[in-house]
């Protein structure tokens, strides 16, 4: 016993510090992001294994389609056009399976302990969503470096890169909330895996990540316009390679989608705690 004994009832008399509202939300976001970074520091293998697929997309798919010149991208080389799409895709893949973590935490009993801390459910989900954003950002940095090595002409303007980080985090926040919402419905890891597998590729192909929306048939264009991934790619393309876009629309859609996702996932979180 190293701590000095104090008078009995000392802990009952002590008034715990209470923070509320935006301060509490900010504190929880920082907390969950830190935990995510600590996990990442202890085990970097995922960062490497998850880099394989985007590299293949850039090197194999990107280089080949650059030669075929089948996809009209104006005066932008196809690889440059593709790179922001692949950044968004790798962030999407991480986020869409993030709900598995919350099911794992539920099965391991950790979620129960988190839920009895003074953390409102919406704050817990927001913290987790931003933690998914941090993990996606770490992955995005890897893809940006790979793209730069392949000769993609991207901006190195720090303000624009900060914008890229914000877009990646917001996008991952939405898709991780989608994943946590599904987790709250299906409650089982295997089912979430299956649904995740089933929706990632449609989300990816029904977006402007690989080709301009204008090339798509009408019905697919309609889907692309309601797919938040399209707005994420738009914003990334604007920031990284200078394509024309309306950032207000892009950020409004991503921010709005993330907010709706947080509310939906928080509403279903109770199902996971029973």
């Amino acid at each position: 016993m190293s701590a000095a004994p104090v008078a009995p009832s000392a802990w009952a008399d002590h008034d715990p510090r209470a923070i509320r509202g935006p301060q509490l939300l900010a504190s929880r976001i920082v907390t969950f992001c830190l935990v995510e970074l600590q996990k990442l520091r202890h085990d970097r293998t995922e960062l490497v294994t998850r880099a394989v697929q985007p590299i293949l997309w850039l090197v194999v798919f990107g280089e080949t389609f650059s030669r075929i010149r089948a996809i009209p991208t104006g005066n932008v080389p196809y690889l440059d056009y593709l790179a922001p799409g692949i950044i968004a895709q790798s962030a999407l893949f991480i986020a869409i399976f993030y709900g598995i973590q919350i099911i794992w935490e539920r099965d391991a009993g950790i979620l129960t302990k988190l839920l009895v801390t003074p953390t409102p459910r919406a704050a817990l989900v927001t913290g987790k969503a931003f933690a998914a954003g941090i993990r996606a950002l770490a992955q995005a940095i890897v893809v940006v470096v790979v793209a730069a090595l392949l000769g993609v002409a991207m901006t190195w303007n720090p303000l624009r890169l900060l914008g890229v980080a914000a877009v990646v985090i917001l996008g991952a926040a939405f898709f991780s909330c989608l994943s946590m919402t599904i987790a709250g419905i299906v409650l089982k890891r295997d089912r979430l895996m299956g649904i995740g597998q089933a929706i990632t590729m449609p989300l990816f192909f029904a977006s402007n990540a690989l080709y301009p929306i204008s090339l798509m048939p009408g019905w697919l264009q309609a889907i692309s316009h309601v797919n938040p991934l399209s707005y994420e790619v738009e914003a990334l393309r604007g920031l990284l390679i200078g394509s024309a876009t309306n950032y207000w629309v892009d950020f409004a859609v991503l921010g709005g989608a993330a907010a709706v996702g947080i509310l939906a996932a928080a509403a279903l979180l109770g199902r996971l705690s029973r």
């Binding site: 016993m1 009995p8 000392a10 510090r17 085990d43 009895v116 003074p118």
Partner: protein
């Protein structure tokens, strides 16, 4: 001074099944209070109501005067909780696990590192604190969980079957830590157990629960003395429930009518 925990006419149903049936009891400040009973007695449901995991249906619960229904956050700030299941984040070190909860309980930044070191020392994990928690033994995990629950200096420590699955040495070590908390910091402890030995060794008072109902409340020695010379808590339990503690819910069901009586001692 108000009671540490006051439970008043609480009933909780899962669908048609009544898990807790009109439960009323008070836990006094600074005591170690045990909820004792076989599986299905309603112990864990009671715990999960007190720690805000389950929403109150009927009845009221107050923790140091804070109404659970309206001040759930104030209650959570005063509780430390260790669930039955061994549950820590294996991908983090022991210290990071505790630091995580220090942040979630809003321990002020200036005190955080010191408080984390303090509780790690209390549970004797200072030397292993830098290792990934996935390398810990069951006993070490349980002690780390105690550290997580204590980092906020809780007025009430809630432990659900704290020693299930631990070897005797680890179990003694947990008992020792829990008594120490009470002695040095006046922490009130509410725990569940189905080990008579644990209740006897650790608890100031126990409540016998069976099929969601309270059968008896009192100090272990008083409850035993009321059953005659040399009686064990096991005998007390049998007298009030007509069944063995080890028996599961089904076995106890046959005797439920004969056992519908609740006494209060001490």
């Amino acid at each position: 001074m108000s009671d540490a925990i006051s439970i008043s006419h609480v009933t909780y149903r899962f669908g048609d099944h009544v898990a807790v049936d009109d439960l009323s009891l008070e836990v006094h400040p600074g005591e170690i209070f045990g909820l004792l009973g076989p599986n299905g007695a309603g112990k864990t449901t009671t715990i999960r109501l007190v720690n805000t995991l389950l929403p109150l249906q009927d009845g009221d619960v107050h923790v140091y005067g804070h109404d659970l229904r309206h001040e759930a956050m104030a209650v959570r700030r005063r509780l430390g909780y260790v669930p039955q299941q061994l549950s820590i984040e294996g991908a983090l070190t022991g210290r990071e696990n505790v630091m995580w909860f220090a942040r979630l309980f809003d321990v002020p930044r200036a005190e955080r590192a010191e408080r984390v070191d303090e509780v790690l020392a209390m549970v004797d994990l200072t030397e292993s604190a830098g290792r990934l928690a996935s390398t810990y033994s069951g006993g070490m995990v349980r002690r780390l969980e105690l550290a997580q629950a204590l980092v906020n200096r809780p007025a009430v420590l809630v432990l659900d079957e704290p020693t299930v699955g631990l070897d005797p040495v680890a179990r003694d070590s947990v008992w020792h830590r829990v008594s120490e908390m009470q002695e040095h910091y006046g922490t009130t402890v509410l725990l569940t157990t189905h080990y008579m030995e644990e209740a006897d060794a650790l608890c100031d008072r126990v409540a016998l629960m069976h099929l969601g109902r309270l059968r008896a409340v009192g100090r272990p020695d008083e409850l035993k003395a009321a059953q005659g010379e040399g009686a064990s808590l096991e005998d007390v339990f049998r007298a009030f429930t007509g069944g063995d503690l080890a028996e599961n819910e089904k076995g106890g069901l046959r005797n439920v009518r004969s056992a519908r009586r609740t006494v209060r001692l001490g």
